[in-house]
Point group: C5
């Protein structure tokens, strides 16, 4: 039995963790989910580290929804850099699922994007853990999570 | 008995630490507060690390008030990156409470914002330590500290 | 027998890893290739670390194709910083092969650039591993990977 | 007897270290000064680390004077990030005293600012080491080093 | 006998390493030079770490010539941050000698600048290793490497 950590925030305006967990369960079996919710995205790195080290998770999905201001982009950068550090300290993957408010033109589109990206990245996390050969088959194919795939260059 | 560290600066123009400590005490019991004041926000990371490692704190609230210039934003970024590193070195949370001078239009509004954000984040620190399930119930609900909550996307 | 790691992404729109592996094999012998594909460039640092530490690779070629938006440049920066950290943690080289979508004016040129850069950097990786004296002979000669060499200053 | 490290540069256009050392001696006793001069501010982090670890210093004052170009701001950022890392590796404070050429409108004002900031931060270093309760009493009072204090918000 | 590492790139358009080595030899004795050439500046951090740890060098001179595009400035930033990390991991100095293509108005001036900066920084490296008191005497005197010294503020 593998453990999949799911870390999310109270700052986000959509329950991306619920979508990710639902998609994980639709995709396969052989794992349990451990969830940890923190206030904002800058709290995610240590939350993920605790899930990986103390919670014994094999991989973590880290979900957040940065605001549309310049300060929010800097927060997202700091959080991302932290998430990479955690991976290098644990030799385990963290799938970062950030949806920037500025990516959508309406609340409705933002909710749609948040759900779809969370679900597609949940499959990525599943693949990294259980079927890495599936990712290798998709190498260089322009996959995107949320909006349409970009596809291969022709 | 748990220990809550409170790190703040002489640079800030409002005693956010006093507000945070007052709110912590209103919120619950079972903890003692250890305070450490440093000159500026770039001195906060090591102050927090000392509180967590030598002061045996279980969590730290780090309060600061960056100025409105571009150089101040860079200082805040450096301090934030340092605070994340400390969390990854200790596996403990630091709740960063930064109020940028540029967030308010008057001194009065800035003081109001500093107090309210300090108080709301003090509750977040309390929740992380004593009732993490409360944060999970608020996952994805658009919580903000200071100004009004953004709320769930509809 | 040396081991050369090749890490790439499903996000990229060209199979740069295939080009790099082909070029490695044309360049020399005495090595085996170990490949690992991840979703995006921010997943590359830990993938490279796993290849170097758990996969026992002697060097890794990390290939990615950042998008043309500002957020993509920030992702590339975070990934690059992570790749440097991995090298410092392992004392082994990672040859970063990033092709930014904004570097080319058409899909066709982008594909051409991705292939050529991947192939030229594959030779760099081979040189670092098997014939470092070849790099020293080219010191200060304005080598570029992909577009034309800049050449020595005159 | 405590040891106070003073690290400075040949790049700076004012002997800020001399001012800091003079002010330290006016402020109190019970310490010796160890000085180390390096070419530029990017050489300061390791100089401070050597002072703290090999020189057994209890605290370091790091003085520099970044130029007015964009590249200088980036150098200052890299140096600052390095200084924070050193503090986290040693659990000791480094008081960063940077005066940007762009902060003053004439050479005369720049020299005045460099001296005053060095002196005021020397007192901060003394306080951190010998009388931290003095800093706590000034918490949230808008202290500045060099130009006038901003004061408390009203 | 001390060991001075010299790390440079095939990307640079001038053999700065040759100039630095020549100047070192003109400046004094008591050391041997160990050279390592890599493709680009982002490969310098690990090359320097290998020179310091495996090559037993006492100091390293790292030479590079970043291009004039925004992406080149980011590469230089990543390389610089990495070089600082290496110094903090080894407690030894690395003298970074970067010449940005944008610093000169012609190829001829760029070559002149690259040679002069390499030579002047070679003396800095020599001073750090053999006569640190010489640097202390120049503290706060506005030294520059390449273009004219800025001099003391008056």
């Amino acid at each position: 039995m593998r453990l999949v950590g799911v870390a999310d925030t109270t700052f986000a305006r959509f329950d991306m963790a619920a979508a990710a967990i639902d998609e994980l369960k639709k995709t396969g079996t052989g794992f349990k989910v451990v969830r940890r919710t923190v206030p904002g995205i800058k709290d995610l790195p240590v939350a993920c580290k605790i899930l990986l080290e103390e919670g014994m998770c094999d991989i973590v999905i880290a979900l957040g929804m940065p605001g549309a201001q310049e300060i929010d982009r800097m927060c997202a950068h700091e959080a991302s850099a932290g998430l990479i550090q955690v991976q290098l300290q644990t030799n385990k993957h963290i799938i970062e699922v950030f949806v920037h408010e500025s990516e959508a033109e309406s609340d409705k589109e933002l909710a749609w994007l948040a759900e779809r990206r969370a679900r597609e990245h949940a499959v990525n996390a599943y693949d990294l853990l259980f079927r890495p050969e599936r990712l290798e088959r998709m190498a260089g194919t322009g996959q995107r999570q949320g909006f349409d795939d970009a596809g291969r260059l022709r």
